[in-house]
Amino acid sequence: MAALRQETIEAAAPDQASLAAAVKLLKPSLWSNLGESSDGRLVWGDCQGSGANPYRLAVDLVDIGSKCTCPSRKFPCKHALALMLMQSQGQAFPGADVPPWVVEWMGRRKGGAIAAAPADGKPSLAAVVEEPKAELDPKAEARREAQRAKREAETGAAIRAGLADLEGWISDQLRSGLSGLLANLPARCRQVAARMVDARMGALAARIDELPARIQALPAARRVDALIAELGNLVLMSRAWGDGSAPDPGLRRQIATTEARDALLADPSALRVTALWSVCATREVTRRDGLVAQSTWLANRSEGPAFALLQDFFPASAGRRSAAFVEGEVFGAELVFYPSGYPLRAQIVHRCDAGSLAMPPAPQDPLEAYAAALGREPWVTEVPLMLPEGRLAEAEDGAIWWQGSARALPVLAADVPAVALGLPLLRAAMIWDGHLGQMLEAETPLGRIGFHG
């Protein structure tokens, strides 16, 4: 397929701003997994955008149709325009089999995409110029800084008040009895979660809002202890916050907000790990607050933290996104971890060649890693564990347990495909919350098995 003409790309661009944004994405370090179909009609690739999971996009060069997993409502988005620009500028796209997600997209297409007419004026690449850096105005800077400090002070006060309110609420529940709380858990949690939102603690509110679902997934006999554990965590978080003057970054993320990607990348103290990562599982969960949490669990085949979690949130109203990774794929990359006593959540800095390594041996007692995580961050909800050789077994009540030589742990039965019950699991990965495990993947004599529910 001949290179696209710039005029074609300009005509396809929805506006001048998209074109300008696309030009900024032409850095090779932002792109990975580039490919081209044998007939040259399709090109595709992954673009590291502002999310933790890279955006996955493909362009049909015949009719300039495109598909991107980014949340932009513009069509084509800046990532697709950037991919077109790369093709037009002679960027080498390795020939490859068309990946399944592109095939699925092809199947859903109704025909040629029609480029949206630009709203005002015709976008032009020639008009894309570097934005001049604004001169710093010391007075304006000082005003902004004062406003920021004021906002922070207000937020700090609101959080302190909110946490005191939360402790009071927990004391009330203990005095009136947890059996009553359990019987009416969703409604009561929703009420207190709303109060936490008012107190500018969005992350904590979401955690409390999700609490009923986590508790009700357990057998009735284990719900009380799980509830005590979670209420105890909330008390710990509140006490660890104290007056909020020097909150632990991990705790701030659990209570209020998460650092922006740019701030994380600019943080020299953040843990950076270059390693070979294998994709254990991808999960998309719609939360009660209307956000979809897209999570990619990575296992580290090299030195450093055993797992990493790439996590993005987007509104459910934006529609489903296809997963950014294929489960089981292995890639080399430098990851930067969000500062935390227990580093887990991360962002990809860039892809790189990290050689080929086998998985390191799993500890005989998988709960050692759990204990270590609790020791560093006692309020952590979910901890990924690497399980040594074991087997899934059934209890009389239909519950399913992972059984190793040193320990047995209950797992979410709905996630377990029948085939996994008939094979030794040479190694497996699981998310453990102290009460119930969610299997992610397992290596078996018949190859890798994914657990998808």
Partner: protein, 469 residues
């Protein structure tokens, strides 16, 4: 000595369940604090203790047996992503067709991609996996007089079917011993399985079933006896025979023909259609003073109301001997519409050569539209001549591709319908053709503009890539 903490936590847990004010303790963690503050501290410690020090204790656990080893290899790893994508199509037994197709090419689907349903009608190679999925422990015992009652019904019927194919006499001996106590529904299936390898040796046993408690079993036995040429002199045969007449036709070369009586009334036709399923070819022919072969030879299928022809085809398929069925089919082919309607009934009674000829005839008659009929008649992976005949229809396929690509807005609805039809045909061809023919078809349609990555080519791509062992 300080008060131990664990009993304090246990007591607090019990109190928190039902509610109430806190209790003062001497433990340093909570000594001297207000009851609310002490409870919050105890709660935080209890949570950590419970999460870390008290992991759930397992009950008695049962391990399933290991998955059985199947006699065919799994699909090559490189083909599993494509297989998984095809397995997402749950429509129209699509996963079963894929499993059957793969087995004919010498592979089984990976159980991590697809676990065969326990009761699905699948090739023998999947049976151990189906038994495992059904919760059976260990391989089933070999069917014998001693194990007859110990096997599950599904296993018993499957093994009996295999035994009848391999050793008809041994199967008959088992049935003679064990049929009577079986429930009527199972008796019927077992008797129908005698159709395989039916010989005169079965006559006495089948005649004995004339006194069976179930009418359905008695009827099935009578139909099998008819296939051995035995008339049961059914009382309805005479009434049905009255609707037929043997006449002579032709001015110069006078020849005998068998046809429906002229001026048959609608009520008589309806009555005949109701009666034909009850009677057999030998008894109807006998009532007309003809032999079964003579009946078929003289029968004139033209100008016969379709319901009558359909009922007659059904009767012949059930009760005629093999050569008579073949002769009947030869005669029907002169009447394509009638033949096409009757073929599903006749097809299972044809020899494999005649089945292949019938499929070629279908392709000649209907072109690509024959695909789905051939799949339902012959199953996946048809013989090479049938595959070649279908592949020779590539020009029609290319025409269909072009129709599906029409972009004029006023023809959009037609183009969508053509695309659906194209997708259906390509998908069916993917289950029928040989690997080399599948590659040829892929070449034609991609040459005509279908993108190689278009999902409607998935089955053909799967076929072309799975060369077989």
């Amino acid at each position: 000595m300080a008060e131990p903490l664990i009993p304090i936590l246990m007591a607090a847990r019990s109190r928190w369940m039902i509610g109430g004010d806190g209790v003062a303790h001497e433990h340093p963690l909570v000594a001297g604090l207000s009851s609310a503050e002490a409870d919050l501290r105890l709660l935080a410690v209890a949570g950590q203790y419970q999460r870390f020090a008290q992991p759930p204790q397992p009950p008695v656990l049962n391990l399933r047996q290991d998955l059985p080893v199947l006699s065919l290899p799994f699909l090559p790893d490189a083909m599993r992503p494509l297989a998984r994508r095809l397995l997402q199509d749950k429509a129209d037994r699509a996963p079963l067709w894929l499993a059957i197709f793969a087995a004919k090419r010498g592979h089984v689907l990976h159980p991590a991609d697809w676990m065969p349903p326990p009761n699905a009608d699948l090739p023998e190679v999947y049976r151990p996996l189906q038994a495992w999925a059904a919760g059976q422990t260990g391989p089933a015992a070999q069917l014998s007089s001693e194990t007859w009652l110990g096997l599950t019904k599904t296993e018993r019927l499957a093994q009996f079917s295999a035994l009848r194919q391999a050793d008809p006499a041994a199967a008959l001996a088992l049935l003679t011993e064990h049929l009577a106590p079986c429930p009527a529904e199972e008796r019927l299936v077992l008797v129908e399985l005698l159709a395989t390898g039916l010989t005169a040796d079965d006559t006495a046993f089948l005649q004995g079933l004339g006194a069976d408690r179930s009418e359905k079993v008695r009827k099935a036995a009578a139909h099998l006896l008819a296939r051995l040429g035995q008339s049961d002199a059914h009382p309805l045969a005479a009434e049905a025979a009255a609707m037929f007449e043997v006449a002579t036709e032709g001015l110069i070369r006078r020849r005998k023909v068998l046809r429906l009586i002229a001026k048959a009334k609608d009520g008589q036709i309806r009555s005949l259609v109701q009666n034909l399923p009850e009677i057999s070819l030998p008894s109807l022919a006998e009532a007309l003073g003809l032999g079964p072969a003579e009946f078929v030879e003289l029968w004139q299928p033209d100008k016969v109301p379709q319901p009558v022809q359909y009922a007659l085809s059904s009767m012949i398929a059930r009760t005629a001997m093999g050569p008579e069925v073949a002769a009947y089919w030869q005669k029907l082919m002169a009447e394509p519409e009638t033949a096409r309607v009757s073929l599903p009934q006749i097809f299972p009674r044809l020899t494999s050569d005649d089945q292949e000829t019938a499929c070629l005839w279908l392709v000649a008659q209907s072109g690509l539209a024959a695909c789905s009929d051939i799949l339902s008649l012959m199953g996946a992976a048809v013989p090479a001549p049938v595959s070649a005949a279908l592949t020779a229809q590539r020009k029609a396929l290319v025409d269909l591709v072009k129709l599906s690509q029409v972009t004029a807005p006023e023809k959009a609805a037609n183009a969508r319908a053509d695309r659906d039809r194209l997708a259906n045909v390509l998908s069916t061809l993917g289950l029928l053709l040989t690997a080399s023919d599948a590659a040829l078809v892929l070449q034609s349609v991609t040459g005509a503009g279908v993108h190689p990555a278009d999902p409607m080519l998935d089955r053909l791509s799967f076929n072309a890539a799975l060369k077989g062992t």
